[in-house]
């Protein structure tokens, strides 16, 4: 274990904080996040993730945001365990009929001001599940949506960019 600690301490961070020239998007995101999140919400933004019927693909990429490469907590983005602590609901999946009520209740349990991000093609409009009698539709068919981040699933960097766009919008409002 000592060798792993030493390697991590001495080898420099895995986090892509000082992006290489070919990774300009990450630098852009880091900069924009600092400006917009602070303007709207001070130094932090609490996110509650809700799977309303997804295949779990979007969840895998949301998880990736927490790995050392992306390390979203450095931007003040933090995933909370309860909607009562959240500023943002990050909702995935076509909303199934069996999850619609739970999603509505989660929305109601989130204090104002709050934002909703519909993540993925399914969250946008039901994706390839649109038309199934077992789903209600996209997230916007059940609760008001502020931003859509498309993709199947969206890449972690796209999720980050989406959250920035949301902050920019909130800052202007």
């Amino acid at each position: 274990m000592r060798s792993v600690f030493l390697r991590n301490l001495l080898g420099g961070p895995a986090t892509e904080a000082a992006p290489a020239a070919d990774d300009a998007a990450m630098a852009e995101v880091a900069d924009a996040m600092k400006r917009s999140a602070r303007a709207a919400l001070g130094r932090s933004l609490a996110i509650r993730e809700v799977d309303a019927g997804s295949c779990n693909g979007c969840e895998l990429e949301i998880h990736a945001l927490n790995n050392p490469f992306y390390d979203v907590e450095r931007f003040g983005l933090k995933f909370t365990a309860s909607p009562r602590h959240a500023d943002v609901l990050l909702v995935t999946g076509p909303v199934t009929k069996n999850m619609a009520e739970a999603l509505r209740r989660t929305f109601d349990a989130t204090p104002d001001p709050k934002w909703v991000v519909a993540l993925g093609d399914c969250g946008r409009d039901g994706g390839c599940f649109a038309g199934s009698p077992a789903i209600v539709g996209g997230v916007g068919d059940v609760i008001p949506v502020d931003l859509v981040v498309p993709g199947c699933p969206p890449r972690p960097i796209d999720i980050l960019k989406g959250l920035i766009a949301l902050m920019d919008g909130a800052a202007r409002a």
Partner: protein, 494 residues
């Protein structure tokens, strides 16, 4: 002497165009005898699903690696319950009733399963959880919205102090009507849906779907397609095992290993992206082969991933194995007895941690698994630790497989055109995902469109064992147990 399965198959009328294994139409007596065979452990249940006014049951004779499907017509809307003799069939039968309206007669549990009473907008009937009585018991209800970034489901714990007396699961929250949605779709359209049955197994499910379609149409895909599919499948296995090993250690308050495994997973997804153009390799496997060739520098990206993992992973294993505080949480926690695993025919790490070696890659040796060298790791303790060790050993095997596949990758085409005109043909496939064996079954109808498709996720036979695993352990160990299984909600809920 004929095997019990062969004897049973000889009692029915064989369907003319079902491949690669036989399907026979049987009468209610043979159906009931099949349930008895399952109950006595002489066969394993691979699947049980509805099809209009019929039910199908897929059986596996493990000694011979022989598979057969029995079909029973239900003109009066019912069929003799299999669950009455064989518990693993119970949830499948409840699902058949919910989705197809066919009643399992004499079933031990007549509650709905995927149907929460919300599909037709009618009055919702409260779900009757099983009663638990005794002094000092209380209940903890969890979900469907959980505290972590995970799929929704409901867990009802009955506890005495800290000890879990019973866990009862209620699933079905992410039911998307997958099988109904597939009806009338072209094979290419349906493949997209199959790849979204369970997001973490998108490659395995698209291989399973494609192989069932190819079996129905009597098509053999080119060698390069077989190899590229297996390459993707093993990369998918690596990515999932890294994620789960890290997550189990994190639940035992060892975030260092979550971070280390998270880096391995991220590197794996980036290599997949470089090689195949998508981090999860979604929609890369299609009926007839693969959608695109390996990127020109894809082989190098994967080889450097293998080098990176070979350098990093052994140290992670060393830390895990040497940390008493971690071992204290994982050793002897969440034990699944070998007889339960055999009875439920649980695959993947759940089966292999409790002595059941079944691996579809070995049992049916479809290419390229017929020519590459690999072992199926096997442990017997059945605890969280054993399930972790299965994953650790599988990482090592998959690394070796990836190198072999790259080294022996044949040239030539990676796709073959499918005959579009054949109808009334049926195909079936069993493919090994990181989680266990995925069963895909389909019938192609007029104009080459799907008439019926059934996808049975390995989770169906693992979820019930999680209820058994946590019994007698403490509530705080549930996240560890749950992660060590990592059953799919979406794959199960259909």
């Amino acid at each position: 002497m004929m095997s019990p399965l062969a004897t049973l198959l000889a009692r029915g009328k064989k369907a003319a165009r079902h491949a690669p294994w036989p399907r026979v139409a049987v009468d209610a007596d043979a159906w009931t005898d099949a349930a008895g065979l399952l109950g006595r452990g002489e066969c394993a249940l691979l699947g049980l699903w509805g099809d209009g006014a019929s039910v199908h049951m897929a059986l596996l004779d493990e000694a011979a690696n022989a598979v057969g499907v029995l079909t029973l017509a239900c003109p009066d809307g019912g069929f003799p319950s299999v669950g009455a003799q064989h518990a693993p069939a119970i949830r499948l039968e409840r699902t058949i009733r919910d989705l197809w309206g066919l009643t399992p007669r004499g079933a031990p549990d007549d509650r709905p399963w995927l149907d929460h009473g919300k599909w037709d907008g009618g009055a919702v009937i409260p779900y009757a959880f099983l009663p638990v009585e005794g002094e000092g018991l209380h209940e903890i209800a969890v979900g469907p919205v959980h505290a972590g970034i995970i799929e929704p489901g409901h867990f009802r714990f009955t506890v005495n102090g800290e000890t879990v007396v019973r866990l009862e699961q209620r699933l079905g929250y992410v039911h998307k009507g997958v099988e109904r949605l597939m009806v009338g779709k072209t094979l290419d359209e349906a493949a997209i849906v199959a790849g979204r049955l369970s997001g973490d197994s998108t490659v395995a499910w698209q291989i399973a779907f494609a192989r069932s379609a190819e079996a129905a149409l009597g098509v053999e895909v080119p060698g390069r397609a077989h190899f590229l599919r297996a390459l993707m499948a093993e990369i998918e296995r690596l990515a999932n095992h890294f994620g789960d090993i890290g997550a189990v250690c994190n639940d035992a308050t060892y975030p260092l290993l979550l971070a280390e495994c998270g880096m391995l997973r991220e590197r794996t997804l980036r290599a997949a992206d470089a090689a195949f153009g998508h981090r999860l390799m979604r929609d890369r496997v299609i009926p007839g082969g693969v959608a695109g060739d390996l990127a020109p520098d894809g082989g190098d990206a994967i080889r450097s991933l293998v080098t990176f993992v070979r350098e990093r992973f052994p140290r992670i294993v060393e830390i895990y194995d040497g940390a008493a505080s971690l071992q204290d949480r994982t050793v002897t926690t969440g034990i699944v007895r070998p007889d339960l695993v055999r009875r439920f025919a649980a695959g993947g790490h759940v089966g292999r941690a409790s002595g059941r070696a079944f691996d579809a890659r070995k049992a049916f040796a479809f290419p390229p698994y017929d020519i590459v060298d690999f072992d199926t790791p096997l442990f017997g303790e059945g605890d969280v630790n054993a399930r972790l060790w299965v994953r650790i050993r599988e990482v090592e095997q998959s690394l070796a497989l990836v190198s072999q596949i790259l080294g022996r990758l044949p040239g030539g085409p990676f796709f073959v055109d499918l005959p579009r005109k054949r109808s009334g043909v049926e195909g079936m496939a069993l493919v090994e995902s990181f989680r266990g064996d995925c069963l895909a079954w389909l019938r192609i109808g007029a104009d080459g469109r799907i008439e019926r498709c059934h996808l049975r996720d390995p989770s169906w036979f693992q979820w019930p064992l999680l209820e058994a695993a946590i019994e007698g352990d403490i509530v705080a160990d549930f996240p560890l147990c749950n992660k060590s299984f990592n059953c799919s909600y979406s794959g199960h809920d259909l």
